[in-house]
């Protein structure tokens, strides 16, 4: 008896995308912090 073929998208779990979501959040947070620091630096308003 043959089994039904499996689509990879049906085999996904909630934690499959977790590292990518955390990594994206980290990357965009990092980019935002660098952009804000650069902007404050250009404006000469860095507190240090």
């Amino acid at each position: 008896m043959s089994r039904q073929s499996t689509d990879p998208t049906t085999e996904r779990h909630w934690w499959d995308e977790l590292p990518l979501k955390i990594s994206s959040a980290l990357l965009y947070s990092f980019a935002t912090v660098i952009a804000v620091v650069a902007l404050l630096g250009i404006l000469g308003k860095l507190p240090f």
């Binding site: 073929s5 499996t6 689509d7 085999e11 990518l20 990594s23 990357l27 240090f48």
Partner: protein, 130 residues
Amino acid sequence: MRNGYLQGQWQRVQMFLVFNTVALPLIFGTVQPEQVKLIICVVGLGIHMVILQATLRADGWIQFLDARMINLEQLDDEDPSGVRVKVFSHPDFAGKRYSWLASRKAFGFFGLAVSAVWVWQSIHYFRLLF
């Protein structure tokens, strides 16, 4: 295309490992001034996260291409003369490929753990200096 993406993903993993093997000892094992270590931390954190993101995103493309390969294999499914060996549409394929034990999934969490080390060191040297 799928094989290209798969190879690309593992090349990025190698890049990730080589980068961290070279860069992390620069913070932990040298007598550099703290200002230099802070710069290494910030630049290292940025490079690390870009490589990690590129590696993890490749998985989405491989998953997409797997689904297209299944479509391709099922094109002449009804035709009795189209007998062939199924690979991507085989019921065991997804179970093996998307198992929670797959090495690339462990890599994702390992990459995040290394990110935490970079963030910790960046904050540590920032607080030390300012």
